[in-house]
Subunit: 342 residues, 2 copies
């Protein structure tokens, strides 16, 4: 349905690619400066003699749904790549390259594109990845961005959701719920606490820290693994479903950050607001299960990497569901389980 | 920006994946039934001993822009895959697998999803490809679909836009302009001709024929190549730009189908409407350049494959632009050069 449209801003597809995106593909000879029909991925870029395979993840985000219309474009780009990096980490893969598809509308101008490309550039440097291809189209709807990211992984080291076994210890990295609180602050839903705490929580929402190193380090010790994107309870539920087991988690053992605890205390949220945090999502921490005899080894590896991990419960044989237990070992009632995509 | 939303149709992301898309991934063990964080692509799936690399193409289509809101979902799916297959063909790659990202809205129901998945299934069988991953989100805007398709190609056999040389013969496969006329008919912009002609032209718009076999067969004889998606003049222009050469094309040598000629003759279009057809796009024919001494060989190969190709002009040293020549060798004035994406 060809449509000709003049564009006062000069935002022609080819001009956009040449100006903003081709520079991001310079490190990748297979991308041919994004001027051809597609890119070649270098399968020779595997560890020599290894059985490495190409891992692929895909995320689509829509303005107004997955990020605020007025969110800084640089942060939108950074988060988009980090979310995909987190997916790769959850597979045990090391990042390599990515594809970007943009559906943009009249609200997008040169300033937005420049900031967006700058954000991509920052993460490319951080992670040693580069842009290899994609598409750019115009939409009458909200800006819609899709990234497919590619990484390398030895199939035997792949973290799957389906490998949890009864008796496994459940670990989670970092802290849970910061991003959820950051989002509430950005939405103006809670009274802000101290400026430093607010900044920390917003930052945790905008700039998740993909657990790439951690996942690679524990891959051979862990059973199953997933990144926490939909919420701790929901994502642990995905593991339960894929592995056909249940999970018992002690609320008191779930790690919350000091800023999160302080903001909850000083806000208008109810005292048990922690229960909402474990369903709030956007954490991008690594949730994984480890057979008991590997527990000590995992904790030593994580200490060596200076990445905090917490044992939060155990896998049970029963039920296929997640139970959150209070300090008396009683199951707590949870109202929301996690992010529903629709 | 987590949002909870009840859905009377039961169109939950996981339900949609399980019901409509997981069955399409069954042939791909690396996809794990679309239940994990991403897919593994089998790099061992290369021709043994070859230097094959993974080729990647990406296309995004938006309802109301790239296809009609009320277009049959099955045909939308088929065209989406065929357009990506055409991109792979233009790289000289053989198709292997694809990723699908759907941003869907309230107009999408089970019937649409069922038809859409059926269309994907038809093309999977036709081309021996399978779904390996993707994402499903909800949008308040128009349905937006992104496919990344993967294929295998020996880098030395890759068709590039940048390898055209002065003196090369310019070839195009099949016929040009059918899809453009089909689109005009679908839009109600021209008086329809005979029913069979109308059906043929609409079909050419909805179901382009990726030139996968042809591209593989001529890869080592051809210089440059591209698939005609933006329009013959525009896409030849891409070759001129990438190769730093010019192109002289004789209008009389451009292949038009009999149905196209008849519809133009019987319609309200002006007599030189053929000039519009070479800029109308959506043809997905293969446009390629061949050094003169390989011309006979290329024509023999194509005859063997029973795929019609036509020599339509020659590459010149000058200008970096496309000249369309009339029967007297005079340059013709063209008003539109091809599809502008914005």
């Amino acid at each position: 349905m060809s449509e000709q449209k003049s564009d006062p801003e000069g935002l022609d597809e080819f001009a956009i690619i040449a100006k903003y995106f081709a520079p991001l593909s310079e490190a990748s000879t297979g991308a041919v400066g994004l001027t051809d029909d597609g890119a070649l991925l270098a399968c020779e870029n595997v560890v020599p003699g290894s059985q490495e395979r190409l891992a692929v993840t895909t995320d689509t985000i829509v303005a107004g749904i997955h990020y605020f219309h007025d969110a800084p474009a640089k942060l939108v780009a950074q988060k988009l790549l980090r979310v995909n990096l987190s997916d790769l980490a959850a597979m045990g893969a090391r990042p390599y390259a990515y594809n970007l598809s943009l559906a943009i509308n009249d609200r997008v101008d040169h300033a937005w594109l420049g900031d967006f490309a700058a954000g991509l550039g920052v993460e490319q440097k951080n992670w040693g990845i580069s842009l290899v291809g994609g598409d750019t189209v115009r939409t009458p709807g909200p800006v819609t961005l899709t990234v497919s990211m590619f990484g390398w992984v030895e199939p035997a080291k792949r973290l799957l959701r389906s490998n949890a076994r009864p008796g496994d210890i459940i670990y989670v990295s970092g802290t849970i719920g910061d991003a959820g609180l950051g989002l509430k602050i950005l939405r103006g839903e809670i009274e802000a606490g101290g400026a430093a705490d607010v900044e920390f929580l917003k930052n945790r929402y905008y700039l998740p820290a993909p657990r790439t190193k951690l996942a690679a380090a524990i891959a051979e010790l862990a059973g199953s693994g997933i990144d926490v994107s939909d919420g701790l309870v929901a994502d642990l539920g995905h593991i339960c479903q894929a592995s056909g087991i249940g999970a018992d988690v002690k609320l008191a053992d779930i790690p919350f950050s000091e800023p999160a605890r302080r903001v909850i205390e000083h806000s208008n949220l109810r005292d048990d607001a922690c229960l909402d945090l474990i369903a709030s999502g956007d954490d991008y921490e690594l949730l994984f299960t480890v057979p008991g005899w590997h527990g000590g080894e995992v904790e030593a590896v994580c200490a060596g990497l200076k990445i905090p991990v917490s044992p939060i419960g155990t896998i049970s044989a029963s039920g296929g569901r997640v139970r959150i237990l209070d300090t008396n070992g009683q199951e707590m009632k949870i109202e929301t389980h996690g992010y529903k995509h629709f």
